[in-house]
Amino acid sequence: MLDNTQIERLEAEAVNSAKVRQPLYAPRKKIFPKRASGSFRRFKWLVMAITLGIYYLTPWLRWDRGPFAPDQAVLIDLANRRFYFFFIEIWPQEFFYVAGLLVMAGIGLFLITSRVGRAWCGYTCPQTVWVDLFLVVERAIEGDRNARMKLDAGPWTARKLVLRVSKHAIWLAIAAATGGAWIFYFADAPSLIGEVFAGTAAPVAYITIGVLTATTYTFGGMMREQVCTYMCPWPRIQAAMLDENSLTVTYNDWRGEPRSRHAKKVQAAGQLVGDCVDCNACVAVCPMGIDIRDRQQLECITCALCIDACDGVMAKLGKEPGLISYATLSDYNANMAVATAGGSCSVNPSLVRTGSGAFSDKLAHFHIRKIFRPRTFVYMGAWSAVGLALLYSLLTRDRLEVNVLHDRNPQFVTLSDGSIRNGYTVKLLNMIPEPRTIVVTMQGLRGAEMSVVGIDLPADRSFAVAVEPDRLKMLKVFVRQPVDQVGSATQTFKFRVEDKASFETDEYTATFNAPEIVR
């Protein structure tokens, strides 16, 4: 019998040993953003008021278009396939205007991002704006950061229940109003709101409100920064738009490091100390819960609230603002080089200051010139080109159009007197909300005359047709040419339409077919 010590020990380890096992799923760390104050916060309030105002109020603006069109300034009329935007009315075939605007929005996003980083994320993205709004409610009910953390950690008391229920109730009310506002873009808002509350609106209206209420409540109230970090593709894409000359929220460790909570003591001990007092104010206000001092991160939406927080602390300490600031990577690198004496030592804040304590004039500062660089010129050029093309197209677009379909089967018909007849479907587009009388005239095609199905008049070269407001009128037209006038197997001529009142005209060049050999 062998004893324990005599058994050979093998070098073996379980593949899923607890030593190397990592959790597959990470629980979310709760974030309790502190209220910030300062110029960026004020700017964000302003942006929030404007964007929310536009969203909630636009459907209620009126715009008089006369008796034959709706009077809602912005209306997407899906049933009738019309889009109204103040003085512009768009038919389905003009949808390229919307596509063009989307292209402009895309290029505009590139332009803004290459200049000032993720300004879209930080200021105007609906996710940011609504989260901000939800946070206003949260702070008003549960208090600021510390009170909220205490409440969250504390046991479920009657007070906590009341606070939580009222918070979620207000959130839901905001979410419902958000979902509710959406549907007003698709129907006459004043009449629809009555129908919604009377329960007589279309099911799709309630479904839309329900879905948007749920998403607003979930994304704005519950998920918040998780949406930006895990669901949104934009943080991944925007890296391609940023370069070393793009402004972005930066912790200037060339003046902040080495950070210390006991600056005086450390300084007295003869050690270097930077401007950062490690108060964590920048972390506490961050809605994404990150530390900007860890440098540029995917999670950072550049809302700039850390700048406000830090500037407040710097002011209290009597130091210059801008420890955290909008800066470009090239300026940051230049200043880092100054602070580290070209990379030969770790950050030495005394190198960026002169003997009197003021900043050295070797420091790089952002210059407005950096906004204008080849990249932004290209974006600006593309953006302006699309914009100008759309504008030109809009200003010169026709509100009276004619489209013609030539009958193909049969291509032509020989009549009893030998003359040749071709059939056409002529579509008159009256694209204004007024009834019009349109004169359709033939130009060219020797000796030919036309007759219109449903109009009991002798054949002629011109007809007056009444067209309803904002409608398409389809005419079946027969064009007949005497046999001795037929020039060749294929002739061209024009259908010309004219509104005698407004002098608008349009033309369509059509072909007239005849058999190869005409007797």
Binding site: E13, V15, V20, Q22, P23, L24, Y25, A26, P27, R28, M223, Q226, Y230, N409, P410, V413, T414, L415, S416, D417, G418, R421, G423, S451, V453, G454, D456, M474, K476, F478, V483, R519
Partner: protein, 287 residues
Amino acid sequence: MSDEHIDEVSGISTTGHEWDGIRELNNPLPRWWVITFYITIVWAIGYTIAYPAWPMLTSATKGVLGYSSRDDVNNELAAAEIAKAKYAAAIQSKTVSEIAGDDALREFAVAAGSAAYKVNCVQCHASDAQGSKGFPNLNDDDWLWGGTAEQIQQTITHGIRFASVPGTRLSEMPAFGEIITRDQVAQVSTYVASLSGPVQDAKLVEPGAKVFAENCVACHGDNAKGNKELGAPDLTDAIWLYGSNETAIAAQVRAPKHGVMPAWVERLGETKVKELAVYIHSLGGGE
């Protein structure tokens, strides 16, 4: 794993997946993500209970909500029938001329007639309504039995030489090959051809005119303009059902071919016949 790799920059272990030196960090997923995944599984199970899903031997589970895409189609078809009903009622109560005079009704009748034409008429009259060889062109202004909307309706209703139905048109041209001589056939054929164009042998025209006056004017008229009561074609125009040269005309004089068209009212009903008549009339506006 003993050969676990830790990324130097982030200090996070990697999954072991590597592409050209690029390794995948083993960052944990957010927990809500996996919870969402479980919710979708629960949802999917609920969905297969609520809606038709599981294949069985002969059919599939019906789902507790009783949804059926076939019912959806039937409902849509029923709704379309209801939407069409007011037009159908108007078409039933109005004459074809009245229908053709009303823009909305005409549009509906033309669409319905066009569909019926494609099913019932193209076999002889062709998809372009120009007619297969020996069948009349419905686009032109030459109508054997009349080209007003009412006359077209009558033709479609009762047919042509469709003996089993009362009210059909029965008149036929006699086979003149048994009545007049071969020479007379040649003469009259040349004369008829001369009415609408040049002929090969002008000498035959004068005797032909005499033969025509003796044998043909009863039906085709003194001026050879035809007679729609009898379905006798106009012989002076540019349109020829069986050919326009002397040979073709002679063949038709000797032993004429006669088209037969079925009566359609029994099969299609009066409303459909009216729609067809309006459609046919719209092809060229009749005469």
